[in-house]
């Protein structure tokens, strides 16, 4: 029976400030700071820790009743002072919450006052402010808001350079490392923002680090304003909300907007762009990666052809995965997201023009109960998305292939590749194995070779 549905049940999205905290974690020597109640910081820390298995300190201005009535200015200033004293950060990334946004705190104004009032204390950190009200959008919007705010605060016009800015979207630490490797192999100077490849997936500590090593230095971000081009992943990310969009407006730096490079076609597009921008042919290593991937497609094609899946997660990931799945002959019978950009269907259609004939259905702004209702009707072969789909996977006995964020019930989500030929290879292997395992389990004979 269909029920009227006003409430969100088992949300397929998180709130805006979470994304901002993760993005700020990708700046060197930066402490993310939430201007709101203590709980926001604590819940978000817990949520990120469960995926990345790394300590993550997020400071909070810790609102009380007085702050809610008279404004959070005092608490924010004291908080910044305390974080400065204890963490000695180079950067503090201040993100707002529903609370501070609702009472209408003028955060930029408070930060200006703070800089005047406290200029004689500890060295003044760079203060970045991202507006991230939880009653708008989802975590991915907070992520982009923080990246854009960072660039806006730091980037300066300078002598033109060979530098390329890369804004990779909310990808895994392993993906970030791979992107850096690609640029290094192209011998192309790179500004990657954010870069939490080490802060969210680092080594052991001999002593306590207030702020873990790694991240993009503020001094490097300054040069984003004199780069020769920006590349930005994420097909639903609009220039008006993005870092590359800002740099284009402010400094005339061309914005190259790509889908997350998953699958051969979209990876080719990314590598071709790099060839154009750098003037170098792609290194042999990547030709090899691509050849192995094409070969793997051949070896595995029969397992995956016409397999029907439900795909869910952040919109950009869903678009990119749809493009990849359609090039290996799989059909995402439902592409779903808790996000609501209004662009999801259009972007999928751009990459997969035959989507309607293939029976690809797209739904924005849904929750896991909506997706489960669809799953009961669509009867997909499996589900692809983050670990929060496990509840419906188990209940309906449909296997789940985990990717993206969060992965709270498996080990190594932070080391999972998604991007480029290497990431696609990893995903393809896992998809084929999901099918093989399903077949093997269903077989009454129990073949030891499949």
């Amino acid at each position: 029976m269909k029920h009227a549905k006003t409430a969100t049940q088992n949300a397929c999205k998180l709130c805006n400030p979470l994304g901002a905290c993760l993005a700020f974690r990708g700046i060197e020597n930066c402490v993310p700071f939430l201007h709101g109640s203590q709980g926001c910081a604590t819940y978000i820390r817990r949520y990120l820790i469960s995926h990345y298995k790394e300590p993550i300190d997020i400071a909070s201005s810790n609102f009380h009743e007085e702050s809610a009535v008279f404004g959070g200015s005092h608490n924010l200033k004291i908080g910044l002072k305390n974080v400065s004293d204890q963490y000695k950060p180079e950067v503090i990334g201040v993100a707002t919450t529903c609370l501070s946004e609702t009472i209408g705190d003028d955060v930029p104004g408070i930060l200006r006052e703070y800089k005047k009032e406290f200029k004689n204390g500890s060295p003044m950190p760079i203060l970045i402010h991202a507006s991230t009200p939880s009653y708008q959008g989802s975590h991915i919007d907070g992520f982009h808001a923080a990246v854009r705010a960072t660039v806006k605060t730091l980037a300066e016009k300078g002598e033109p350079q060979e530098l390329i800015n890369l804004f990779p979207n909310m990808v895994s630490p392993a993906d970030l490392r791979y992107l850096k490797e690609i640029f290094s192999d192209f011998k192309a100077p790179l500004l990657l923002l954010p870069d939490y490849s080490q802060t969210m997936d680092g080594g052991p500590w001999g002593e306590y680090h207030r702020i873990p090593p790694g991240g993009t230095p503020a001094s490097a971000i300054v040069r984003a304003g004199s780069a020769k081009a920006s590349i930005e992943f994420g097909s639903t990310l609009e220039a008006a909300k993005s870092a590359a969009g800002y740099l284009d407006d402010a400094f005339g730096i061309p914005r190259h907007h790509l889908s997350l490079p998953i699958g051969i076609k979209e990876s080719d597009r990314f590598f071709s762009l790099l060839e154009t921008l750098t003037g170098h042919a792609r290194p042999e290593k990547y030709e090899d990666e691509r050849r192995r991937l094409v070969d793997a497609y051949a070896d595995g094609h029969k397992y995956v052809f016409e397999k029907r899946v439900i795909l869910y997660g952040e919109e950009d990931l869903v678009v990119a995965m749809t493009a990849f799945l359609s090039e290996i002959g799989m059909t995402p019978v439902l592409c779903a997201s808790g996000g609501k950009s209004g662009l999801l269907k259009r972007r999928i259609k751009e990459l997969v023009p035959e989507m309607d004939e293939l029976g690809i259905k797209v739904r924005e702004g849904v929750d896991f109960v909506d997706i489960e209702d669809e799953a009961k009707v669509l009867q997909p072969d499996f589900l692809i998305g983050n670990s929060k789909g496990y509840t419906m996977s188990r209940k309906n006995d449909i296997p789940l292939l985990r990717l993206g964020f969060p992965i709270h019930d498996r080990f190594g989500g932070q080391r999972m590749h998604h991007l480029g030929y290497r990431g696609t290879q990893e995903l393809f292997d896992r998809i084929v194995n999901t099918v093989i395992e399903q077949r093997q389990n269903a077989s009454s004979i129990g073949y030891t070779y499949m």
Binding site: A11, A59, N62
Partner: protein
């Protein structure tokens, strides 16, 4: 190594036990300092954890999506029947709702959810902005209760209106509205309620079994494996047995004032405290010496099988040092004793929400040189772990990566655990987990042990 300093406003919340030094009272029960990375949560979190295990009610979070998303199915609180508590419901307030109010959205959400899930009751949690935008959730709840015929209980848990403890109180306030509305017929005179036991990994079942073996009737467990009908009858019990002092003492006091039910504080962790919690209940019924006899029999039977199995762990762990940082202080007392029983000493003991008396008692219990902290943060915890050369940290999810980064063992003693640590069998699990983490050969590669950085 870099010197780690303590924030000025935090110094009074830290104390090191030293001989011959004047012993000031530790400062506690205060709100967290702005800008310090507190391990605490908020008022909403306090309410949510207390009511979470009630499995035949729906829990609806009125606010933007985050608060509901981060608390979806996060506790190991299991149910023997319905599992509505494992679903996450939110009014998912949007900008327009913030401007024009969210009452209508709440009303429709509730009517629909009650129709769809047929719960025995509904708890409505207000989050930060609900108070600010002026939604009258009491009125909405009243209206829905009338229309649906089930209790619809507002929980005033705006995140900023105090600390986690105030959230506990708001939750208990909602429970008090239910208690007293059910029939107490056929409840034995030899009966108790178990308060502050959340049935993580089935712990309430273990505890319940012991009491039942003693011939004690357990009327309600608040709130582990909780059911609305049981809560309604809770005023029929003769005695309240309170574990997790932080969350439920207020409820026990209210029930004492309103229904004349006395309460005792207990803990189910470790052999010593577990046994005491059975004896203390038996003592309360002196007219039935057989209850005490049965308690003794339970303890002796359990200890007889448990004790030998602990010796392997004790042998390996003797001389190892532990740091404890958990939510409630009462748990800290038990953990100190439990650790001692497997040969370990405690070099750091702290809690998020202990009060003056708790810390006074902690001071008494601890050895010389033990550091005691209230509402600590990662920087302080790490400082003391390294300075005191701890081999183990006991804490929750947020503390786990600190331990592992620094190359020491960790035991999860928080709401997410999947292994029961309460009761006698829980003591075995606890010792096993501590042993498996502390004695793992992987620490040989930790920089702390001379591994390459």
């Amino acid at each position: 190594m870099e010197q780690i300093t303590i924030l000025e406003g935090r110094q009074k919340q830290i104390f090191e036990k030293k001989k011959g030094v004047a012993q000031p009272d530790i400062a506690c029960d205060t709100s967290s300092l702005s800008g310090s990375v507190s391990q605490r949560a908020c008022v909403f979190c306090g309410s949510r954890v207390v009511l979470y295990p009630i499995a035949d009610a729906i829990h609806v979070v009125h606010g933007p999506i985050g608060c509901a998303a981060y608390t979806w199915d996060i506790r190991g609180a299991v149910s023997s029947g319905p599992e509505l508590h494992r679903l996450s419901f939110s009014t998912d307030l949007q900008e327009m709702d913030v401007i024009y109010g969210g009452e209508k959205k709440l009303y429709h959400s509730l009517i629909e959810l009650i129709e769809q899930y047929k719960p025995k009751a509904a708890f409505i949690y207000s989050t930060c902005i609900v108070g600010l935008i002026g939604d009258d959730i009491d009125a909405v709840c009243k209206k829905v209760a009338k229309e649906s015929g089930i209790p619809v209980l507002p929980v005033h848990s705006e995140g900023f209106k105090g600390t986690k403890k105030d959230g506990y109180k708001a939750a208990c306030h909602a429970l008090m509205k239910l208690i007293g509305t059910g029939s107490t017929e056929e409840i034995s005179k030899y009966s108790i309620n178990i308060l502050g036991e959340f049935n993580l990994a089935g712990e309430a079942w273990i505890i319940r079994k012991y009491y039942e073996k003693m011939g004690i009737e357990v009327v309600a467990t608040l709130t582990g494996d909780g059911r609305i009908d049981a809560v309604r009858r809770a005023h029929g019990a003769t005695l309240n047995v309170v574990q997790c002092s932080g969350s439920m003492t207020w409820l026990a006091k209210e029930m004492e004032a309103k229904y004349g039910i006395p309460y005792i504080r207990v803990s189910y962790f470790g052999i010593e405290d577990m046994s005491k919690s059975l004896y203390d209940v038996a003592k309360y019924f002196p007219d039935r010496p057989d209850i005490m006899e049965a308690a003794k029999a339970v303890v002796s039977e359990e200890v007889k099988s448990l004790y030998p199995s602990l010796q392997k762990f004790k042998k390996a762990l003797t001389g190892k040092k532990a740091a404890i940082y958990v939510g409630g202080a009462f748990k800290t007392f038990s953990l100190i004793k439990a650790l001692r029983s497997i040969g370990m000493s405690v070099v750091l003991a702290g809690s998020q929400t202990g009060d003056k008396n708790d810390y006074a008692r902690l001071k008494e219990m601890c050895d010389e040189g033990t550091v005691i902290v209230d509402d600590s943060n990662p920087v302080e915890l790490s400082k003391f772990i390294l300075e005191k050369e701890a081999d183990l940290l006991i804490g929750g999810v947020k503390e786990r990566p600190i331990a592992f980064k620094l190359g020491i063992g960790f035991c999860d003693h928080n709401h997410e655990r999947k292994i029961p640590l309460a009761g006698f069998e829980g003591m075995y699990n606890f010792a096993l987990e501590v042993y498996q983490s502390v004695m793992s050969p992987v620490w040989q590669f930790a920089p702390r042990k001379g591994g390459i950085l």
